[in-house]
Symmetry: C2
């Protein structure tokens, strides 16, 4: 951008749904994604749910020519699933893992094992611009009516917003691409956009082409679970490209596109999510841009208050679970002590004979040990949960104080 | 600082060693610390190892008058132990938890449970300056000769350095206070200082008063474990105040002090660590300061290479542990399957009689289940460890590439 005051930046974002052994036609889809990325030659490609490092390596080998720079973020047991391919040098990376990410015992949902996180790259276009693209994924929503994960997702949205605020201060342009697992009007998205000043490429785009309402999880896609989309005949929009200019730049979204159920030229989709593609027009301007907040402050106060209330509800639930798991651990310990006393009594010859059959006695002891261990682990887990929810509530309270002082 | 181009900033840092039920004379020492902080009126107070929220609340109540702003960072099972008291408004906070922090089964060391982390506050002195004080603590060193935690501590030092680099770009002055659990010449400290450009208040101070060589863990202190300090007759220096100016400011350390074994005016120390106090002279200058790196680049290349080698050694160890725990889990599973087959065989009447006594049979099954669970948990844990060490090694490789390109 040295000399040329404008830059057209083409960004691609996709939740690839590439879970080894579980995702359908994974290898074929990864091949199709690679072919398309090589053909289209985007400037920045943000991918989520590339859980297998082998898939990343295959993509890297295929895309080396047109995307010389790439990075795979490692975290959690399985990984973060996040990777970035870039036409511009990646100067630096930072991974931030959310402090809360579901429950380890909800095996069927699996979020806890995935170490969901946000990855930050600093890229440089060789001129004066530094981009800070963030690729990320929030905790999935499994049941909209009774959404037990909402407080966790709000903590994540808040931590994401804080991370972006703190790490993007010296960037020229901030980009966030990812599957945020939230509908556009949800409190988490309003909080994220309001607190960071990020703008939604779909809402701002001059031209749009793709699924109606920009939906990215649609009934037309053969991999989506149709029953989950019953209340939403058009589908839902949960994958986003968000952006903002920080210093003396302006960013406009010229064009936004989504895929529409199948990959162009084939009969299968790239993923169960639709890909989103934005063309951003970045222009240097004389003076530094001002205001960092995305929403008028009184509205923002309402949004933060609403989020804080939800976090408070989650805090109540976490406290109750901490209490009940603690009580269960104490009961198991008491049972064990009782058994130990009985066994000692028998050994010391106090009791006339063996009060229980040996087998039931030892089975009961093992059961008590098992319950004690499990309940203790859960109690520790919910203790951490309470602490993190308290911390987030406290931070939101502080943010509200600062906002209200400004008003 | 509006109008006045200089500011004297007095910073206090102490590892308080305030573990409920374990630390000696905890409440008395917290009271002494509070009295002294109220008397001295520092500008910024960074405390570590305040594990009990009650102690924080007591300090907050006592110090409300002279330090109107404070924050307690919550994390982990027990907490982060970090808190900050400030004369300036705290505008914003962010907590970063290290991805590796010891082993959950090393109960005697306990680091894993403490959620060691770095806390960032943004403070504002009412004029133009924004400070970004970071309070933090790294994984403790338990045995210098055979230091199994070195790779973890290096990952933490690297993550800390990256966190500071990414979050301090828009700050005027960056401060880092904490118990870093590393000697001044250790590779972790050289990495941290080199990669962030932070300067050591002790080394830069015009005047110094306190323990010889600035030591903060000394044999004179009645709470230190004398046997650990045998190889170091003067003591060791592991608590630091580091600083740098980022934008158009200069910072000089006018004076540095440590306590010397006992709290002034009493016969007991504040903690097993000595407190460090620095008076910084912050001056606005016309033009923005340049270079961000603290060490000449060829030296920095050596430091990062050394750190990367150590992380590689840790990676090898973690891979071996992942393998051996995985093998143990598989063996336990095989034993269980064998038992299940034997039991089914007996039920189906294939065997002539009961091959084992029932009690031993069920005890063995429970043992196998226990080993299977434990080995699986450890295997998952070491899988995460391998991923994080790999990630850090990859980031260091990237940093080396960028550094070498610059040379």
């Amino acid at each position: 951008m040295e000399g040329d005051p404008t830059l057209r930046l083409r960004v691609f974002n996709l939740n690839c749904w590439a879970i080894r052994y579980l995702s359908k036609q994974r290898q074929e889809r990864i091949r199709l994604i690679g072919d398309m990325l090589r053909r289209e030659g985007f400037d920045l490609v943000l991918l989520q749910e590339v859980w297998s490092e082998q898939d990343y390596s295959n993509l890297k080998a295929k895309l080396g020519g047109c995307y010389p720079f790439s990075y795979y973020f490692r975290s959690g047991v399985i990984g973060s699933g996040l990777c970035v391919f870039s036409r511009f040098p990646i100067l630096d990376t930072l991974l931030y893992q959310y402090s809360l990410n579901g429950y380890p015992y909800m095996l069927q949902h699996g979020d806890w094992f995935c170490g969901k996180s946000v990855g930050l790259d600093t890229c440089w276009d060789g001129g004066h611009d530094r981009f800070a693209p963030h690729s990320r994924q929030l905790h999935a929503e499994y049941c909209r009516e009774k959404d037990g994960y909402l407080p966790h997702r709000l903590v994540q949205a808040w931590e994401l917003a804080q991370f972006i605020r703190h790490t993007s201060k010296a960037a020229d342009v901030v980009l966030l691409g990812g599957d945020l697992n939230m509908h556009p009007e949800d409190v988490g998205i309003r909080l994220l956009r309001g607190w960071t000043g990020l703008r939604d490429a779909f809402a701002e785009a001059t031209r749009f082409e793709g699924c109606e309402d920009g939906c990215t999880l649609i009934p037309n896609n053969c991999f989506t679970v149709k029953s989950e989309l019953l209340p939403f005949p058009l589908g839902i929009r949960i994958d986003y490209i968000l952006y903002k200019a920080v210093s003396s730049f302006t960013v406009k979204c010229e064009e936004m596109k989504t895929t529409t159920g199948t990959a162009p030229g084939t009969d299968i989709p790239f993923s169960d999510h639709e890909a989103v593609m934005a063309t951003l027009h970045i222009q240097r301007q004389g003076q530094a841009a001002g205001a960092n907040l995305g929403t008028a402050e009184p509205t923002l106060v309402d949004v933060v208050t609403e989020a804080r209330t939800e976090v408070g509800v989650g805090l109540g639930a976490a406290r109750r679970q901490r209490y009940s798991t603690g009580r269960m651990a104490v009961l198991a310990l008491l049972l064990l002590l009782l058994q130990a006393a009985a066994a000692l009594g028998t050994l010391a010859g106090l009791a006339a004979g063996q009060p229980f059959p040996k087998l039931s006695f030892s089975l009961l002891a093992f059961l008590a040990i098992g319950v004690l261990l499990l309940a203790t682990c859960l109690h520790l887990f919910h203790t951490i949960e309470v602490k993190m929810l308290q911390g987030t509530e406290e931070q939101m309270r502080m943010a509200l104080r600062v906002l209200q002082e400004r008003l």
